[in-house]
Symmetry: C2
Subunit: 363 residues, 2 copies
DNA sequence: CTGAAAGCGCTAACAT
DNA sequence: ATGTTAGCGCTTTCAG
């Protein structure tokens, strides 16, 4: 209830509100003695600036909107974590909006956030095509950075992982392990990640086997599709399945177990993203880790650049960060034990990296 | 850029700003003819209320702060999803703060959110003891609802799952399946969930075996501890391990595989929470599902009640919702196949419920 | 270097 | 039913 205002601090420190404002904001030079008095009074009274008033006056709320398709997508929590930390470090607050994969809801959230005077927006578009209009509209009003997924060129700054590089890492790894009859379990749709990963597979798989680039099936980014996809490529008798993300890979692992195929002995499986599940699967899933913290930091940097941006509008940037291959048991050489589970006597022993067991659950 | 203000709309519709405000806010009766004119003008000019100004004047931002310990805890994304949806449905926006399990960071976020004039707070305290002071302070300033974890009595309204009831479901299920040599792999610490689940086990396990209540080991809510905990109880030759949450159970499953124990034939494993991973494990993890949507709805209701609350301060409420047992392969009867994986030929076939494969991954 | 004063856009008395 | 007026708490000219 103790709503201490600038005026209270001014009274208590015997100077004007203007001076107090200057001291606290550091906008202009102030006598070091008065400054000290002001700071002391502010501290003593427990002064907290009223952001609403500040926002009204300075046309900046210190708030950014974060709009994403589905917080329950297992890849996003880590990204949200890093983004909020990066933004909080800059003194900004984060308004979160979950769109439930619905472009209409997304458009509504975007409009609402703009009405709430967010200084900037961080958007993971729900749909490359159907999100475009609303996102473009929003980008015209405030600095906006696209993350993870694209939605057409020329809309805004963007930052994402280099999907092609990640797929190349996977293919090189499988080639080195002697896998040749590889198949790709991918996702259809216009989502940039889906398309880029598929293209990279097509471009690189030929090095393993001339037929490999053609062994592609497309569904969506789900566990269910991963299971079905295995059946769809089974007649090729693959010795490796390259999955467009970890959920597809998880489904593939399930189905392969059911079919009696031994992973990695009979067939290798790889994923993409390195969601927490990947390290917990049996066997541990070889996958491509997105540099989540760096992605978040880059996004924050891009926003800062736009928000500072005095010298006119800087050119649009599309930043791609290199991913990292995380090798686990699911792609181990055919006749060796899983490399990182030395104590494991059972054939389906799980492998883990050190990071995988750190999380704690809800209580 | 088109910053249309109330004044612009007033000018365009030939009446005063007050009238416009009344029409748009519906605060007071207005002539239906003028009202129409105003609405038309507002629409035509693309008027968007300035929330900062409104907040400054009415001391209400339409914003609630959501403070949680770790968004990467696999149980929270679903909760965050439901909470944001419930609040957005009421026209509120959500400011998200992740504390990284640090009570000091939590206190800072709480103070910052109060400075940003949130109308209310939703808090999952990081630490039952060390969060108490900051939470109590915040609760004195705005309506505050505690979720999932407690932090001492008499602080604020709270809503959580009925941990005791959940544990009872698990024990009944294991008893019916003929398991007797059960052990509890729990978590130490003051967190309410840890304590409640442990107590409920101690209270109920005696019905299976007089020794069972004593077979308890305590660590934390992590996969790593789940692995270690198995070793710690192994000398009891258990035929079931009851885990305080799903991550512990996941670790237990891993370690049991390594030890060559067959789940569920030799030993049953149960978890708590029903995180997405639970349905994906091999075999599927029998666990206690928290009624996430209902928890969120109750929390939103409590906030509404406080925010509306004209007739003085209503009494504090502690709401407990009943959980649901989700039976999967990890606790199947000893000599039967996993019940929900009829097509599975392999011994370690995974079982799934319909909901488990619905999510899509990031792209 | 500091104070006085003018609003930012909106709502809520208070008038009419 | 509508208009007039006074601020909400802050930043920022503009004077001194």
């Amino acid at each position: 209830m103790a709503d201490v205002t600038l005026r209270d601090v001014a009274l208590a420190s015997g100077c004007s509100v203007a001076t107090v404002s200057r001291v606290l904001a550091g906008t202009r030079p102030v006598g070091s003695e008065t400054a000290e008095r002001v700071r002391a009074a502010a501290e003593r009274l427990g002064y907290r600036p009223n952001h609403a008033a500040r926002a009204l006056r300075s046309k900046a709320t210190g708030t950014v909107g974060l709009v994403l398709p589905q917080i329950t997508n297992p890849f996003y929590p880590a990204l949200v974590r890093e983004l909020t930390h990066a933004l909080h470090a800059d003194g900004r607050a984060v308004l979160l909006a979950d769109c439930d994969d619905d472009p209409a809801a997304e458009a509504e959230h975007l409009a609402d956030l703009l009405g709430r005077q967010v200084d900037a927006l961080l958007v993971i578009p729900a749909d490359a095509r159907r999100s475009r209009e609303a996102v473009a509209l929003a980008a015209a009003r405030v600095p906006l950075v696209l993350m993870d997924r694209g939605c057409g060129p020329g809309i805004a700054d963007s930052v994402a992982v280099d999907n092609a590089a990640g797929m190349a890492l996977v293919l090189d790894h499988l080639a080195a392990a002697g896998r040749r009859r590889v198949c790709f379990l991918g996702a259809a749709g216009t989502a940039s990640a889906a398309a880029e990963r598929r293209s990279a597979y097509e471009a690189g798989a030929g090095a393993l086997d001339p037929q490999a680039p053609g062994r592609i099936v497309l569904g969506d980014f789900s566990v269910e599709w991963g299971r079905a996809a295995v059946d769809a490529v089974w007649h090729h008798r693959p010795d490796a399945v390259v999955c467009a993300n970890d959920l597809i890979a998880a489904g593939a692992l399930q189905r392969l177990h059911e079919l009696g195929a031994r992973v990695p002995h009979d067939i290798a499986v790889t994923g993409f993203d390195d969601i927490p599940l990947a390290g917990l699967a049996a066997p541990g899933l070889t996958t491509v880790r997105q540099p989540v913290a760096e992605l978040a930091a880059e996004a924050a940097r891009l926003l800062d650049r736009r928000l500072a941006g005095e010298g006119g509008t800087p050119a649009q940037r599309a930043i791609r960060l290199a991913p990292e291959l995380v090798v686990r048991g699911s792609s181990a050489p055919r006749h060796a034990a899983a490399p990182d589970a030395p104590e494991a006597p059972a054939p389906l022993a799980n492998s883990r990296t050190s990071q995988d067991s750190k999380e704690e659950a809800a209580e």
